[in-house]
């Protein structure tokens, strides 16, 4: 009996082993190596790398670009997350309702999900181009002066945010749609019979029931707000004057354009810390939710 149990245990570990090796090699080890590297200087052919303690972090604190990029990323997250989730929910409610031609509408909402960001970025570049771009062509027909959308630090981040929302909302819609279809239609009918308005039904019945989905989508949206930087490569390269740069793009730039992997590791540690804090926060929040239910 005991022997069988230990064999059972060994089997469990053996099954886990292949995935574990990959996770160790490409997630845990690099995480630790990044942390270690952030305490060393960048070596080159003339000067080898050496231990410098907190020097990279001291540089980080005085690095204006870093702070700007962090600020941008906070704005980026604070806008893309709630807006794309709200839109996704709205889309799902529409597409789940009695809207005529709803499969066509659903398709168009979902299309951005299958298009590569890097390809559509060039099309957005056309939309945003001053004078010749689509937006300016439309606004100028109403007599509004053209605007340098990507060349103005006040609007450039907004432009990037719009693209991200466009890309994400349809993807999140699907998850809400799945959840909505598990709600029984009688629920709404009952609420309507009692004279509840659609808004009341949505606020007091539907939204609370969708909470688990919202949490799942929220996690995805948060991760994306750190991860989705593809459009920057085509549209702005982080400019003008870093007004649209995001943390992951800055890491790429430092590591592969400035060839400073030590400082890039330091920046990565910051990103990892941010993710860790969010993960812990979610854990606490999720735990509460679970108890609540």
């Amino acid at each position: 009996m005991n022997q069988r149990r230990s064999r059972f245990q060994i089997h469990g570990w053996l099954l886990l082993m292949p995935a574990a090796i990959f996770l160790i090699a490409f997630t845990y080890y690099p995480t630790l190596a990044t942390l270690a590297k952030s305490f060393f200087s960048q070596g080159n052919a003339i000067k080898p790398s050496r231990f410098v303690g907190l020097e990279n972090y001291e540089f980080l604190i005085t690095d204006e670009v870093f702070w700007k990029v962090v600020g941008n990323n906070v704005i980026y997250a604070a806008t893309t997350i709630p807006i794309s989730i709200a839109l996704a929910l709205l889309m799902a409610v529409w597409v789940n309702g009695r809207l005529p031609m709803k499969s066509l509408v659903r398709m168009s909402f979902f299309t951005p999900t299958v298009l590569p960001m890097i390809a559509v970025a060039n099309i957005w570049l056309f939309f945003y181009s001053p004078d010749i771009g689509l937006i300016d062509q439309i606004t100028s027909s109403f007599g509004i002066a053209s605007h340098n959308w990507l060349g103005d630090p006040d609007t450039v981040l907004g432009c990037i945010i719009v693209i991200t929302i466009w890309k994400e909302a349809g993807f999140f819609m699907i998850f809400y749609l799945a959840a909505l279809q598990t709600l029984s239609p009688e629920l709404e009918e009952a609420a309507r019979l009692e004279g509840a308005s659609r808004w009341y039904y949505f606020r007091r019945v539907m939204f609370p029931l969708l909470m688990p989905t919202t949490l799942f989508v929220l996690i995805n949206a948060i991760i994306n707000s750190f991860k989705l930087v593809d459009q920057l490569f085509i549209l702005t390269k982080g400019g003008p004057d870093n007004a649209s740069s995001l943390l992951l793009y800055y890491i790429y730039e430092v590591a592969f354009s400035f060839l400073d992997q030590a400082y890039a590791s330091t920046l990565t540690v910051v990103l990892l810390l941010a993710l860790a804090i969010i993960a812990i926060g979610q854990f606490v929040f999720l735990d509460k939710k679970v108890h609540y239910r």
Binding site: I132, A178, T268
Partner: protein, 275 residues
């Protein structure tokens, strides 16, 4: 009662109008891509219903970049990743769903960490690893960090857990080993999850950019996204007609598949989201 009804009706129509408008805006980039790809370049930024149609842009785009090669690379890439993910995630998910072993819950929590710390965050260090393994500029190198997918493990574990244990016991009585049980009982019953996860994975890696950009150097490994980014690099002065033609070429397979199997596609994505 009546006026309330009317009011609601109007607001409903208003809502529908908003829905259609939003749908139109969402389609606009694709509509524009079709416009500019099928018209001569002088109409790329001018809209004229009488503009002549042409296929020259596609010919030009196809001849300017080795798209055939990029297609092959992307195809190999998503296939390799998918195959590896299926194997690794199935085994791990089975372990988490049906086995008891010391450290299981810690191991599971560790796996879930990868949901947060995705390979994109670790490009710098993973690049170093790849160059030590001599896998820079190889298709396998693009795929490796994604092969043990926490999302896949999690999804399959949830599915496996819903499969009645009696089926497993019956198979065991017939003398099946653990792997045989997995292959004969669990995998067939989890087919919808595999389809769903497969679609999510394929569309993710078909469109993935940052890591492939970092790790590839040459035509023989570049996937479509990286090829397209280099092909359409704005530095060379944007020529939207040709870029949109190239874009349409690149997204065509996924887009056509999506249009043909729209229902299954959407349902699969929905399935992947259900927990």
């Amino acid at each position: 009662m009546r006026t309330a009804n009317l009011k609601e009706k109007i607001s409903l129509h208003f809502e529908y109008g908003a829905a259609y408008l939003l749908a139109l805006i969402w389609m606009l980039p694709l509509i524009y891509a079709f416009w500019s790809a099928f018209h001569p370049s002088e109409y790329a930024t001018r809209f004229d219903l009488l503009a002549p149609l042409t296929l020259d842009n596609f010919r030009e785009a196809w001849s300017q970049a080795p798209f055939a090669r990029y297609f092959l690379n992307t195809f190999l890439l998503v296939s390799i990743i998918l195959l590896a993910q299926f194997i690794l995630c199935t085994l791990a998910a089975y372990a988490f769903a049906r086995f008891e072993f010391p450290g299981k819950s810690i191991a599971f929590a560790l796996v879930l960490i990868q949901l947060m710390i995705m390979p994109e965050v670790l490009i710098v260090e993973n690049y170093v690893t790849m160059s030590q393994l001599n896998l820079v500029d190889s298709i396998v190198g693009i795929g490796l960090p994604y092969m043990a997918s926490a999302f896949g493990i999690f999804l399959l574990r949830q599915t496996f857990k819903t499969i009645p244990k009696e089926l497993e016991d019956a198979a065991r009585v017939e003398g099946c080993s653990a792997l045989q049980i997995l292959w004969k009982v669990y995998v067939p019953l989890a087919r919808p999850t595999y389809v769903a996860f497969g679609l999510v994975s394929v569309s993710y890696h078909w469109n993935n950019f940052l890591w492939p950009l970092v790790i590839t150097n040459s035509v023989t490994t570049r996937p479509l996204t990286v090829g397209l980014a280099i092909f359409g690099a704005p530095e060379s002065g944007v020529d939207w007609s040709i870029i949109t033609a190239g874009t349409l070429l690149a997204v065509a397979p996924l887009l056509v598949a999506f249009l043909l199997f729209q229902r299954q596609f959407v349902q699969s994505f929905m399935h992947a989201g259900i927990k």
